[in-house]
């Protein structure tokens, strides 16, 4: 496995990265391959990489909601469910996560993409 590469750069398939001393597998879009590989520490590192310099309580509220939703349903919420669940508007969400809800919030919260095929 190519541990030095950023996810999705050289191979369209799965990529392993070493984050905080732990090898984690990401898909081609940089999403956690497994929901249970996520950790607060990984979140903080990935958030910084995505341009979030200061993690606020609002960030954590979004991440908490997303993870609780997935742990219960086994899928990601729709955007309006996320808005209702966090009390944050789409604009606020965009400001919190510059890469947007999917590539920002959902990715950083460790929610995996639905699987394609293998």
């Amino acid at each position: 496995m190519n541990k030095d590469s950023k996810p999705g750069e050289t191979n369209p398939g799965l990529q392993a990265r070493c984050i905080a001393g732990r090898e984690i597998v990401f898909d081609g879009e940089g999403f956690f391959n497994d929901f249970f590989d996520w950790s607060e520490e990984a979140f903080e590192i990935l958030a910084k990489e995505s341009g979030i310099d200061c993690i606020t309580e609002q960030h954590r509220r979004v991440v908490r909601f997303l993870r609780e939703y997935y742990a219960y349903h086994g899928r990601s919420p729709l955007n309006h469910q996320l808005r209702n669940g966090t009390g944050l508007s789409a604009l606020e969400m965009q400001q919190l996560f510059p890469e947007g809800i999917k590539l920002g919030a959902r990715r950083l919260a460790g929610l995996p993409n639905p699987k394609t095929c293998s």
Binding site: P12, G13, V25, D34, A71, G74, L78, K115, T116
Partner: protein, 891 residues
């Protein structure tokens, strides 16, 4: 117009009908009797529309209503209901003859017409009665058995209760009828085209008739002024990305600048009726400036070839696989064979044509959060939902899987949903997009064509030493599953064998041919065809018996595949031993037919098919219900394999519940866990394992608290819902330079034997019998397992001998050469059950492996009979005849 009185299912009806109106349309559209299906564009080719008129089975798609004055019509709905089924409907379910269920109503009506006049028909009489009815799932064996069982029911020799397995016999390993069986047999299972939506617009789509062109002016003004037309949708009307990205963002919902294959969609017309939409289509003017056509991978790789996609080079992937030193090993080998193998572009050929219905929950004109519901045939509803959200620019959507008339990989990618969803958003109205068969064949994905230059060597003792394979794959116009196809081909390149030295290269190349995607097996059927034929050639060259040669070279625990991964179990030799007596018998019998123009031959091939790919993860949720039952929430699509049986039987067995207390929810993104696609034969292994993990958590909570239902768990402070997971240990891609790396967690193994009769003068090949020895681990439902095997063998034989998709020429089931009941052959299955330690209760998958060894077994049998090698599929009569003549001349 003509006034017609007829009786339908005992109710007198009066219609004023157009002279051209056919009974099928009257039943489906006017009476909502949708049990009779439309598949073949009303050409009388498929029998899915069969009903009984005046005691005779007729094709309702060819029967004019105007000819039916005074007629007695019986449809599938007139026989029975799931609560009170007809004996023939029960027989079809109990015999395991119902898989996807799309052909089932027509089959049952043809059977009823037969049994009404002949209650004890022989096999040939059944085949004659069902000669007009097509089935893609079963290989017809269980359908013939169902008619025989129905005869026994009707003659009073046995009752359905006596034929139905009892729970007292156990749950695992027993052929309990699949939960969806009776709904399909009674015509109450709704497929997408059966779903009526009040006020829905109907769509027709203008598609490219050329393989490569730049789109210029589009003038739809005349079409938009046609009666009933509401408007058109073009690429510029789509507010999302307009790109359907499965693994690469290259396929537009509607083409804006270029078309890249015959069938690429350009404009959709929406009208109040389908006829109006289709009529308007002919008035749309599109300027297409032809561009150079890249009709093969070689043309696309030429130095001066234009780039098909601005963003991507023509070569999508170039992946080597290097293990040991194949060049040196080949040089030192005592025997080497060399050949070029080619496989064709093929259609997966589910009997149900493509279809999507879309409607709104809420008013999209007033509420930007109104929900768009897409109903279709997806086998990956959560992933497809995400694709649609991005492509169409609408977030609040859900995807509901209707009953699916087979799919065999064709629905791993989105097909008609994008256009239907785009139109629903553009017009803010419900829509239905129900293309006919010809358009469906144009627009859907296909099986990839492979060219493989192969060298295989062995030492003097008959041990395989080295394998070279230079693989060139025709990607077609769009990427779809792209690299996954290549990885799967290389992950299974060495098949069942221990090959110490491998030198392979697999290149995937865009062309202007139909776009390839998943197709039962997706890659391994192609590469296994080359390997198994080469193995046969090598055994022949060494003068060794093909079975002994395979046995000697079988991989063994502790040895590694071409990926370098060492295997811990490999129960292939046991299967070779199991088929040995059958092989001996077949070889002896064939000896009597070695001279003259009609000759018999026997061919073997193996398959070791990976299940549970590297990095695969699945989830499933379970919930304890107030009555102590369990609800399962997992997006496990079931286009006919019997996944509903699998989830039901695993849950009932694990929890000790009766079937009626297990509720399985699999079809809706609003209610299911995102369990991943019904592809790669992964459903049983991955979702079944995730299910058991969830049930295990639930059972622990129940044991800990003593709770027997959800209320008691709540009182004890425990949740009633649990998310289970299955994660394969290995993850990550193959090394880009060596192709070495992680592999599948489990394998399903098979040995197949073909017995054929070849007429060297006509080139016709008759399959006398196929024998399949299979080890798929612990068997959950034997009938579902053998149903997959029989259907897979039928599909594999079609792939070997007849089927091919030629763009612009293959337009229906006749030109596709769809296998009929008259092509059906004897099948014998030998089942071994080596429990897979990491599979659910020891099980693994089986759906694709069924056809992986079939084509090489058939081709090897043709060689055995005639001395002729057919290395380019399909082995049509013309090819065989020509090569037989050439061989005769050489002599």
């Amino acid at each position: 117009m003509k006034s017609v009185k007829l009786t339908v299912n005992g109710i007198e009806r009066h219609f004023i009908a157009d002279e051209d109106r056919v009974l099928l349309d009257l039943l489906r559209e006017d009476l909502s009797l949708t049990g009779a299906k439309q598949s073949c564009d009303r050409k009388g080719q498929c029998g899915a529309c069969m009903v009984i008129v005046n005691g005779k089975a007729v094709l309702s798609c060819l029967t004019k209503v105007s000819s039916l004055d005074g007629a007695q019509v019986i449809t599938i709905e007139g026989l029975g209901t799931p609560d009170n089924p007809h004996l023939i409907q029960e027989a079809f379910v109990l015999a395991g003859a119902v898989q996807c269920g799309f052909c089932t109503p027509g089959m049952i009506m043809a059977s009823k017409a037969l049994l009404d006049t002949n209650p004890d028909p022989g096999k040939e009489e059944i085949k004659r009665a069902l000669r007009r009815n097509l089935c893609r799932c079963t290989g017809y064996k269980k359908i013939i058995e169902a008619v025989q069982l129905a005869g026994r029911f009707l003659r009073g020799e046995i009752t359905p209760d006596a034929a139905r397995p009892s729970l007292k016999e156990g749950i695992m390993g027993i052929s309990h009828p699949r939960p969806s069986g009776l709904a399909k047999a009674c015509g109450t299972a709704h497929f997408t085209a059966d779903i009526r939506i009040n006020g829905a617009l109907e769509l027709a789509v203008l598609r490219s008739s050329v393989p490569h062109a730049r789109i210029g002016r589009i003038d739809s003004s005349k079409a938009e002024s046609m009666p009933g037309v509401v408007g058109v949708v073009k690429a510029s009307d789509i507010t999302g990305t307009n790109i359907l990205k499965y693994l690469r963002a290259d396929r537009p919902v509607l083409c804006g600048d270029k078309v890249r294959y015959i069938g690429d969609p350009i404009v959709a017309v929406a009208a109040e009726t389908k006829a109006q939409a289709e009529a308007a289509l002919t008035f749309i003017e599109v300027d297409l400036t032809p561009l150079p056509v890249l009709d093969s991978p070689e043309a696309s790789l030429a130095e001066d070839a234009p780039q098909l996609h601005d963003e991507f080079p023509n070569i999508c992937l170039d992946q080597p696989q290097i293990k040991g030193d194949a060049q040196a090993a080949l040089q030192e080998s005592a025997a080497v064979v060399e050949a070029r193998f080619q496989t064709q572009i093929n259609h997966q050929a589910p009997l149900e044509p493509e279809a999507t219905a879309a409607y709104w929950e809420g008013d999209p004109a007033a509420d930007e959060d109104a929900k768009l519901v897409i109903i279709g045939r997806s086998i990956n509803i959560h992933y497809h939902l995400g694709m649609l959200q991005e492509a169409l620019g609408w977030d609040n959507m859900s995807y509901r899987e209707a009953y699916s008339g087979g799919q065999f990989g064709i629905k791993l990618d989105i097909i008609s949903e994008g256009i239907a969803g785009a139109a629903a958003i553009h017009f803010k109205r419900p829509v239905r997009y129900i293309p006919g068969l010809t358009e469906s064949m144009l627009m859907t994905s296909k099986r990839h064509a492979y060219k493989m230059d192969v060298k295989l060597g062995a030492d003097a003792q008959g041990r395989i030493t080295a394998y070279r394979n230079d693989i060139l794959v025709d990607k077609g116009a769009y990427y779809s599953i792209g690299h996954v196809l290549i990885m799967r081909s290389l992950l299974m390149l060495s098949g069942s064998y221990h090959i110490p030295n491998v030198d392979a290269r697999a290149r995937l190349v865009y062309t202007n041919n139909p776009w390839g995607s998943a197709a039962r097996g997706a890659g391994p059927p192609q590469v296994n065809f080359a390997l198994e034929c080469a193995v046969e050639m090598l055994a022949d060259k060494l003068g060794m018996d093909p079975l002994e040669f395979r046995l000697q070279n079988s991989l063994k625990p502790g040895q590694s595949k071409s990926t370098g991964r060492v295997v811990t179990e490999w129960p292939l030799p046991e299967l070779l031993e199991a088929i040995r007596p059958h092989y001996g018998r077949a070889v002896e019998e064939a000896k009597n037919y070695r001279n003259g123009p009609v000759r018999r031959g026997v061919g073997l091939a193996t398959g070791s098919f990976g299940i549970g790919g590297p990095g695969d993860v699945s989830v499933a949720a379970v919930e304890l219900d107030p009555d102590g039952g369990v609800s399962v929430f997992a997006a496990a699509a079931d286009p006919g394999e019997g996944n509903d049986s699998m989830l039901l039987q695993l849950t009932a067995e694990f929890m000790g519940l009766p079937f009626e207390k297990v509720r399985v929810h699999t079809r809706d993104t609003d209610y299911t866990a995102a369990s991943g696609p019904a592809a790669g034969s992964r459903i049983t292994y991955m979702i079944g394992s995730a299910l058991l993990d969830a049930l295990s958590q639930l059972q622990s909570a129940m044991n800990e608290t003593g709770a027997k239902n959800s209320d008691a768990l709540a009182v004890a402070g425990k949740p009633s819902r649990y998310l289970g997971r299955k994660r394969n240990e290995d993850a990550g891609p193959l090394d880009p330079k060596t192709g070495q790396g992680p592999s599948f967690e489990s394998q399903v193994h098979a040995v197949q034997m073909a017995e054929v009769e070849v007429n060297t003068e006509s080139g016709e090949v008759k399959i006398l019998k196929m024998t399949a020895a299979v080890d798929a681990g612990t068997v959950i439902n034997p009938q579902n397992l053998t149903a997959q095997l029989e259907g897979g063998l039928d599909m594999g034989v079609g792939y070997a001998l007849r089927e091919q998709y030629i763009a612009g020429k293959t337009k229906d089931w006749i030109s596709f050469k769809f296998p009929t009941i008259n092509h059906s052959f004897d099948v014998e299955t030998i089942i071994r059950e080596t429990p897979r330690p990491k599979g659910p209760m020891g099980a693994t998958g089986v759906g694709e492996m069924c056809m992986v060894p079939t084509a090489p077994a058939v081709i090897n049998a043709i060689k055995n009979a005639t001395g002729i090698w057919i290395c380019d599929l399909p082995a049509t009569p013309d090819k065989i005849k020509a090569r037989a003549a050439a061989l005769q001349q050489e002599k």
